[in-house]
Amino acid sequence: MKHANTSESHKARAMLLATRAVVYAVLVFLSVLCLFSFYLLIVNASRSNADLQGGFRFLPQGNFLVNLKNAWNDASINIPRGMLNSFIVASCTALLTTYFSALTAYGLHAYEFKLKRAAFTFILAVMVIPKQVSAAGFVQLCYKFHLTNSYLPLVLPGVAAPIVFFYMKQYMESTLPMEIIDAARVDGSGEFYTFNRIILPMLKPALAVQMIFSFVESWNNYFLPALLLDKAELKTVPIMIAQLRAADYSKFDLGKVYMFILLAILPVLAVYIFLSKSIIKGVTAGSVKG
C-alpha cells in the first residue's frame, strides 16, 4: 500500500484528530463518574454529624477542619499509628506476595521437571476456592496456635497467592523469552542471580501492578485483623474506622467517619501513583526475538 497523495494524509490526520476527540470524551466521561464518588466523600467529610443525618448535599460545608480535628483527637483511636501499622502490614504483604509469586511462576516457567504440570494444575485448582470460608477456619487455627496480636498471620500467607502467581505466569508467557535465561547461563550467571538481577527488572510492570493490588487489598482488610489484633497499638485503619462507627450515641459522629475514610485513601493513592510510574513501556525492547 502506498499513500503518496496529500489528501489521503489529510484524511488520516483528520481521522486521528477525530479519534483523539472521541478518546478524550470517553476519558473525561469516565473520570467524571469516578471523581463524583470521590467528590461526594469529600463533601460528606466536610459536614457535621447532624447535617449528615439531614440527607444528601451537593456542596461542601464548613465542617472539614472540625471533623479533621475531632477525628485526629478521638481518644479511642490514634490515626497516625493506625496508618503506620496499616502501612507496615500492607507493604510487607505486597512485597512478599509479588516476590514469591514471581519466584514460583519463574520456577514453573523456566524449568522442566517431573511435577511441573501437577504443581501448575494444583495452583490453578486452589485458585478458584472461595476465600470466605477458609478465612473463618484460618481464624480458628490462629487462636489455637496463639497467633493473635501479631502481624505474621496477616503477612506470611501472602507468600502463597495463587491469583498473583497466575498473573506472573501469564505475564512471563507473553513477554519473557527463554533465550535470555540461556544467554545468562552462558555468561555464567547463577540461577538465583539470574532471577533477582535479570528477570525481576524485566517484570517491573507486572510487579508494580500486583504490588498495587495486594497493597490496596491488605490496606482495606478488616475482618481478619479485627479478630486477630486487640492491642490498641497494633490496630490497623479499617479496625479504627469500624470502631468510630461502633461508637456509642453520645460520641457517634458520621463526619469523623467520612473524614477518616477520606484520610485513609491518601496514603494508598500516594503508593499507587508512585508504583504506577513503574508501569512503563518497552522493558523487553531490544531483547532476543522469540
Binding site: 454529624n49 447532624a50 447535617d51 443525618q53 439531614g54 440527607g55 444528601f56 481518644a75 479511642s76 511435577l115 504440570r117 501437577a118 504443581a119 494444575t121 494444583f122 485448582a125 481464624v139 480458628q140 487462636y143 489455637k144 478488616y222 475482618f223 479485627a226 479478630l227 486487640d230 490498641a232 479496625i239 469500624a242 470502631q243 462507627r245 461502633a246 461508637a247 456509642d248 450515641y249 453520645s250 460520641k251 457517634f252
Partner: protein, 446 residues
C-alpha cells in the same frame, strides 16, 4: 497422567488433614460446657490483670472516671468493633477458650446488649453474681435484672443504665389532630393499640403520617410478647402481638399512614424536620438526644415542638449490661465494679448529672425527677427524667429468647417487602423462614 497425579496429591493431603481436623474440631464442643464450673474462690490470690471485653468506649469512659481500681491490678480493655459480628466472634472465642487460658488472659467481665444478652446469660460462660457479693437489686429496675438472669432466675450481671423508651410526638401535629399537646391527654388518646390505630386514621385525614416507618412501632410490640419466638419443641411461633404488628404495618402502609422504610433510613429521619409530616417516633432518651439531629437542626428543625408519653405499651430500647465471666480470677473486683455502678449513689448521680444517662438506680433518678430545673429544652421543657422514672417500672423482659435480635430484624425486613407490594404474603413469609433456617438450623419452620 500428571493431572491424575495432581488430583491424587490433593486427595492425600485432604485425607491427612481431615484426620487432624477431626481432633481439632471436637475441642470447641467440649469447651462450650467447660466454663460452667465456678472459679475456685481464692480471696487473697486474685489476678493482677482485669480483662474487660467491649465493642466501644462508652463504659470505658465512665469506668475510668468513676471507678477506683484496687492497687496492684491493671485493667486491660479489649475493644472489638461490632461491625460484621466481630465483637461476638472474638468474645465467643475467648469465652470458649477460657478454661485453657492463663489467669491473666482470662476474661473477667464483658459487656452485652439486650439484643443478644441471653446468648451469654443462658450459657455456662457467665456466673452467678449473687454468689460473688452482688445481692442488692432493690434500687435497680426489675427488667434490667430480668434481662441479666438465665432461664432459672440466676442473675449473671447488672446494667449501669436503664433505657425506658417513650412515644415521642410532635406537639403541633398532636394539637391539630387531637386538639391537645398535653402528655397526659395525648397518652389517654393512644393508651392502647386500637386507640393508636384510630388516631392514625385521624392524622391521615389531616394529611399527616402517624409514623415515619412501619417498623417504628415494632419494638413496642415485640417487648410485650406473651410467648417466645420458639416453643418447647423448637418450633417457630409468631406471637399474637407480633401478628398485630404485621397487620398494623400492612394496614398503615396500604392506607398511607406511614412509609415503607427502615427506621434508620434517610426517608424516615427526613420526617423529623419542621416540614415533616410524621406525628410519632418511638425511642428512649438517647434516641431523641443523639439520633434526631434533623429535629434539632437550628434552621430546618423543630426543637421544642416535641413531647413524650408512654404510648400504647411500655418498652425499652438499648442499654448495656456488664456480665461476669465464669472462671474470672478477679471475683472480688468484679463484684465491686457491679455494685459501684448500680448502688453507689455518688457514681449513679454523676452518670445522670454529668453523662446524661438515665441511671439504673431508682433512688438517684427520683432525686432528679423531682428537680424542677431538670427539664429538656428539646421537649419543650418537659422533665423527661420524671416521665421515664414513672414508666421504667412497667417495662418487662419476658418471653425473650436468644433468637430475638435476628428474628425481629428478619421479620421486619422481609415483611417490608410485602408492605411495599414487591412480594406476596406467601413469598414474604417463605423468605423469612429461609432466613430463620440460615441463622438457626435447629429451629423448625412451617
Amino acid at each position: 497422567m500428571k493431572k491424575l497425579f495432581a488430583l491424587l496429591l490433593v486427595l492425600v493431603m485432604l485425607l491427612s488433614l481431615a484426620a487432624c481436623g477431626d481432633k481439632g474440631e471436637s475441642e470447641p464442643s467440649g469447651g462450650g460446657t467447660a466454663p460452667a464450673e465456678p472459679a475456685p474462690a481464692e480471696p487473697d490470690g486474685e489476678g493482677k490483670v482485669f480483662n474487660i471485653h467491649a465493642w466501644n468506649e462508652e463504659f470505658k469512659g465512665f469506668f475510668e472516671k468513676y471507678y477506683e481500681v484496687p492497687e496492684g491490678i491493671t485493667v486491660n480493655w479489649i475493644i472489638t468493633p461490632s461491625t460484621d459480628g466481630a465483637y461476638q466472634d472474638k468474645l465467643d472465642a475467648a469465652l470458649l477458650g477460657q478454661s485453657g487460658a492463663a489467669d491473666d488472659d482470662k476474661v473477667d467481665m464483658f459487656l452485652a446488649e439486650a439484643d443478644y444478652i441471653l446468648k451469654y446469660t443462658n450459657s455456662g460462660a457467665t456466673q452467678d453474681v449473687t454468689a460473688l457479693g452482688v445481692t442488692d437489686f432493690s434500687n435497680a429496675y426489675p427488667y434490667t435484672v430480668q434481662a441479666a438472669s438465665d432461664a432459672s432466675g440466676v442473675v449473671k450481671g447488672v446494667s449501669f443504665q436503664c433505657c425506658p423508651a417513650a412515644m415521642i410526638y410532635r406537639r403541633s401535629i398532636a394539637k391539630d389532630v387531637l386538639g391537645t399537646d398535653d402528655p397526659a391527654e395525648v397518652q389517654a388518646a393512644v393508651s392502647d393499640w386500637d386507640k393508636f390505630n384510630a388516631v392514625a386514621e385521624q392524622a391521615a385525614a389531616k394529611g399527616y403520617l402517624m409514623t415515619a416507618s412501619e417498623a417504628a412501632t415494632y419494638r413496642v410490640f415485640s417487648n410485650n410478647v406473651t410467648s417466645p419466638w420458639v416453643d418447647g419443641n423448637n418450633k417457630l411461633q409468631i406471637d399474637a402481638n407480633i401478628q398485630a404488628w404485621m397487620k398494623q404495618a400492612k394496614e398503615f402502609s396500604d392506607k398511607g399512614y406511614t412509609q415503607d422504610c427502615d427506621i434508620w433510613s434517610d426517608e424516615c429521619t427526613a420526617q423529623m424536620f419542621a416540614s415533616g409530616k410524621a406525628m410519632c417516633y418511638f425511642g428512649p432518651a438517647w434516641y431523641f438526644n443523639f439520633s434526631m439531629g434533623n429535629a434539632q437542626d437550628a434552621e430546618k428543625g423543630c426543637s421544642g415542638d416535641w413531647a413524650i408519653c408512654e404510648g400504647p405499651q411500655a418498652h425499652f430500647w438499648g442499654g448495656t449490661w456488664l456480665l461476669a465471666a465464669s472462671g474470672s480470677d478477679n471475683p472480688t473486683m468484679l463484684a465491686d465494679v457491679m455494685n459501684t455502678f448500680i448502688n453507689n449513689e455518688e457514681v449513679c448521680s454523676n452518670l445522670v448529672e454529668k453523662e446524661a444517662q438515665f441511671s439504673n438506680n431508682k433512688a438517684v433518678n427520683a432525686k432528679f425527677a423531682e428537680d424542677p430545673d431538670f427539664g429538656s429544652e428539646f421537649l419543650g421543657g418537659q422533665n423527661d427524667t420524671a416521665m421515664f422514672a414513672e414508666m421504667a417500672g412497667n417495662i418487662k423482659f419476658e418471653n425473650q429468647t436468644v433468637y430475638d435480635q435476628l428474628l425481629n430484624e428478619g421479620l421486619q425486613a422481609n415483611w417490608r417487602e410485602y408492605c411495599k407490594g414487591t412480594v406476596s404474603e406467601e413469598e414474604a413469609m417463605s423468605n423469612f423462614y429461609k432466613y430463620v433456617n440460615e441463622k438457626y438450623p435447629s429451629v423448625v419452620t412451617p
